[in-house]
């Protein structure tokens, strides 16, 4: 069987990340180049980051998954905006 094209690998993994109950992440960017898979985007906590990497490894066995995800920060100052 012919090797799945990288474009379809990207589409399939993005669907899996959105639909797999361990992740349900809709905003993860996936890039595939040869056997390298790069994941970028933001998740809410370290646990969800691990879940995204796990689902990616399961869906693309034999690939090297690179975790370039970031964990969201919500500790900014709550300065108010005045709307006249």
């Amino acid at each position: 069987m012919a090797e799945e094209r990288p474009q379809y690998k990207v589409g399939r993994l993005r669907r899996a990340l959105a639909e797999d109950p361990r992740t349900n992440e809709l905003g993860i960017e996936v890039r595939v180049r040869d056997r390298d898979v790069h994941l970028t985007g933001e998740v809410a906590c370290e646990e969800r980051r691990r879940a995204v990497v796990e689902v990616a490894r399961e869906n693309l066995p034999g690939h090297e998954v690179y975790d370039e995800l970031t964990v969201a920060r919500i500790d900014g100052d709550t300065a108010e905006e005045r709307l006249p």
Binding site: N24, C45, R73, I74, D75, E80, E81, R82, L83
Partner: protein, 241 residues
């Protein structure tokens, strides 16, 4: 003056219990009400709904919410709504509520909203049944928002949605998915009802500030956009858009 705190897309589950609530202690000193712009849960389960209800109860300010698409994922939106209402949180879907604040009466109407796209580049109720159902759901949500806003007797009107009424606040998201992120009919509802502000979530990679064609300010308060526990908007109670 009326000060509104707002946030959306907190996506709480059991693992995040308590982490967000600890950031809300200052609310009574800062705001007259807290608006929640949907996607309060991760998977829309009853258990996650219970976490949401317990995280946002007894905060010392009225809490007014709409649900988002994640909160519908497990078909438990009714149970989640009831759990939240049981803890004193107002959950709106095509309804409005008025809060008496020291600076005037704040009227908030809310709907989840839906996709459909933006004027000139939107889907229409034509063709397959599935397409018509999709587009109709967006139109009916916007109609419900307009009706709820017009039914409010208040000094300041705010429209609360999960989906975006304008595309400016989607800046940063891929344009190809805009039709799944918002619907311009929501903006028309804000414009036609004299709202002073539209608040939404949903677009994690979007931008905080936008404005409708009629000049109503729109704010995307999705937590990943804000990068702070909540936004604070201070408005005068004269209303108008």
């Amino acid at each position: 003056m009326i000060t509104i705190a707002a946030v959306g897309d907190v996506h709480l589950d059991e693992a995040m219990r308590g982490q967000y609530r600890e950031r809300l202690a200052g609310l009574p000193d800062e705001a007259d009400a807290l608006l929640l712009a949907g996607d309060l849960t991760k998977h829309g389960t009853v258990d996650e709904g219970r976490v949401v209800a317990e995280e946002f109860r007894d905060l010392g300010v009225p809490v007014i919410a709409v649900l988002g698409n994640h909160d519908h994922h497990s078909d438990a939106q009714k149970e989640i709504t009831e759990l939240m209402r049981g803890e004193g949180i107002t959950v709106l879907e095509g309804e409005g509520t008025v809060v008496d604040c020291p600076g005037g009466r704040l009227g908030v109407a809310g709907v989840k909203g839906f996709g459909g796209g933006f004027a000139g580049k939107c889907a229409t109720e034509f063709g397959e049944r599935e397409t018509k159902d999709f587009v109709r759901h967006g139109r009916e949500a916007a109609e419900a928002l307009g009706e709820a806003l017009r039914g409010l007797d208040a000094d300041l009107l705010v429209g609360l949605t999960h989906y975006a009424p304008v595309k400016e606040t989607l800046t940063g998201e891929p344009p190809e998915i805009f039709p799944f992120l918002g619907n311009y009919l929501l903006a028309e509802a804000l414009d036609d009802s004299g709202a002073a502000l539209g608040v939404h979530g949903h677009a994690h990679a979007g931008t905080e500030c936008g404005v409708t064609a009629g000049g109503v300010r729109v704010r995307n308060v999705a937590l990943p956009v804000l990068r702070r526990p909540y936004a604070l908007y201070r408005l005068d109670g004269a209303g108008g858009g």
